[in-house]
């Protein structure tokens, strides 16, 4: 599966959050709280994942007077790819010296 996504710690955090419950639908705000990412960082990542068909989206029908919310979850391909991606990220960052080690 050819996926053109940058290896970034932020993307890894989003995928980690998804992988905690891979088939569960999640709101953007909940993802933001789990990952600590701001909306301006989180949504471009979600859009890229969605463009690569790694994340699927749906609208939640909400109660009257409240706007419908967008929900996200990994697709089947997304779950497989995310596991490999997170493994690759972890091994890559383990090979790099930690920032405080470099400073000291």
């Amino acid at each position: 599966m050819a996926v053109s996504l940058r290896l970034s710690p932020q993307t890894s955090r989003v995928l980690d959050a998804f992988l905690e419950a891979p088939r569960k639908w999640t709101y953007g705000y909940d993802l933001s709280r789990e990952t600590g990412l701001k909306s301006g960082t989180l949504y471009p990542i979600l859009m890229r994942l969605s463009e690569e068909k790694l994340v699927e989206t749906r609208w939640e029908v909400s109660e009257a007077g409240k706007p419908p919310r967008h929900m996200y979850r990994l697709t089947g391909d997304g779950v497989r790819w995310a596991r490999g991606y997170v493994r690759a990220c972890t091994s890559r960052w383990l090979r790099q010296p930690a920032l405080d080690t470099v400073k000291s």
């Binding site: 953007g28 933001s32 909306s39 471009p44």
Partner: protein
């Protein structure tokens, strides 16, 4: 993403969420617009088309040199001719150094535009060099 604002705790946090979401939306839509614009102008393989345009621009520069040399030769032979009226000097100069080469370029680009847009872009790029030359010419001979 902006609907989530209703569920964000606190006014400032909601405002920050809205600003971030708006920035993300703008960035995404700008990227899509830019991509669509590049694909419309250069086709689905922009790098290949840019290379074609570059080659066409180089060929255009070579052609521009030839056209300008020919025009300059015609002009100088006109000036040396005994039957040439000196009051027509400025008109002949502008006609042969600016109007003729620019017309040749614009016409060629217009003809090629429908079939080979990348080549036409290259021709227009070299036309820009001619325009720069024309401006320099007018400044020098003002």
């Amino acid at each position: 993403m902006l609907a989530e604002v209703e569920f964000v705790d606190g006014d400032w946090a909601a405002l920050r969420w809205a600003c971030g979401s708006t920035a993300a939306l703008c960035g995404h839509s700008l990227r899509r617009q830019l991509k669509a614009c590049v694909e419309t102008s250069f086709g689905p393989r922009p790098l290949q088309s840019l290379a074609t345009s570059g080659l066409a621009a180089l060929a255009g520069i070579a052609a521009a040199t030839v056209v300008l040399v020919v025009c300059a030769l015609v002009l100088s032979s006109l000036l040396q001719s005994s039957s040439f009226d000196p009051s027509w000097h400025k008109f002949a100069d502008r006609l042969l150094v600016v109007v003729v080469p620019e017309s040749v370029y614009l016409t060629t680009a217009a003809v090629v535009w429908r079939q080979r847009r990348a080549v036409a872009v290259g021709i227009l790029m070299s036309g820009v060099i001619l325009i720069a030359h024309a401006i320099a010419h007018f400044v020098a001979h003002a």
